[in-house]
C-alpha cells in the first residue's frame, strides 16, 4: 500500500529565509504527487502537483517542488518565506482505485511557523 511520510511535524523559519519541507513516499509505481496548504480555519488548497515530465515543478505562491525518484522524495521549497506562508502543509500521493476514482493518501502534515 502507498504511504507518505513527512518527518517534520513543526518547522519555524524567519521571514525572508529559505524553506524546505520534506516528503517521502512509498508506492510501487510512478506516483502522482501533490502538495497542499491549509491556512488556519480553512480547507486545503492545491499548491502544485507532479506526475510526469520535468522533475522540478512550479506552483502557486512562489513554491516549487522537486521529484527525486532515487530518494522517493518530493520536497517543497521556497526561496524566501513570507509571514503569510504560516500554515500547515500536506504532501499526498494519488493512485487509481480499481478504475473508479483516484484516491489521495496524505502525510501527517508539517506546521510552518514564520517569525518576523
Amino acid at each position: 500500500a502507498q504511504s507518505v511520510t513527512q518527518p517534520d511535524i513543526h518547522i519555524t523559519v524567519s521571514e525572508g529565509a529559505s524553506l524546505e519541507l520534506r516528503c517521502n513516499y512509498s508506492y510501487g509505481a510512478t506516483p502522482y504527487l501533490f502538495w497542499y496548504v491549509q491556512s488556519p480555519g480553512q480547507g486545503l488548497q492545491l499548491l502544485l502537483k507532479y506526475f510526469s515530465g520535468d522533475t522540478l515543478v512550479q506552483g502557486i505562491k512562489g513554491f516549487e517542488a522537486e521529484f527525486k525518484r532515487s530518494q522517493s522524495s518530493f520536497n517543497l521549497r521556497k526561496p524566501s518565506v513570507h509571514w503569510s506562508d504560516a500554515a500547515e502543509y500536506f504532501c499526498a500521493v494519488g493512485i487509481i482505485n480499481t478504475g473508479t476514482a483516484s484516491k489521495l493518501t496524505f502525510g501527517t502534515g508539517t506546521r510552518l511557523q514564520v517569525t518576523l
Partner: protein, 114 residues
Amino acid sequence: DVKVTQSSRYLVKRTGEKVFLECVQDMDHENMFWYRQDPGLGLRLIYFSYDVKMKEKGDIPEGYSVSREKKERFSLILESASTNQTSMYLCASSLTPAPGQGKFFGPGTRLTVL
C-alpha cells in the same frame, strides 16, 4: 473557480445522535470525497463517490455512511455519533477519476460530540 461548500463550520452534537454533514460543489464534478482530519494523523479517507448513487469505502468507513442522490451533493452520515468521531471533516471534489487530477476542498466542518 470551483466552489465546495459545507453546510456548517462548527457543529456540536450529543453521543447517540444522528448527524448529517452536507457538501455541495458547483462545477459538475464526478468525484466527491469525505475525509477526516486529526492532529498527527493527517487526512484519512472515509468514503468517496464516483457517480450519483455510487459510493465506495475509503480507509476508515466504520461508523459512517454516505448518500449521493444528486451529482452536486454528497452527504456524510453518522448514524449514532460517538465521542471518537469528534474531528474536522473535509469534503473534496474532482472532475475526473484521473489520479493526477487535483482535488478541491471545502472549508471543513469541525464536529464535537459530547
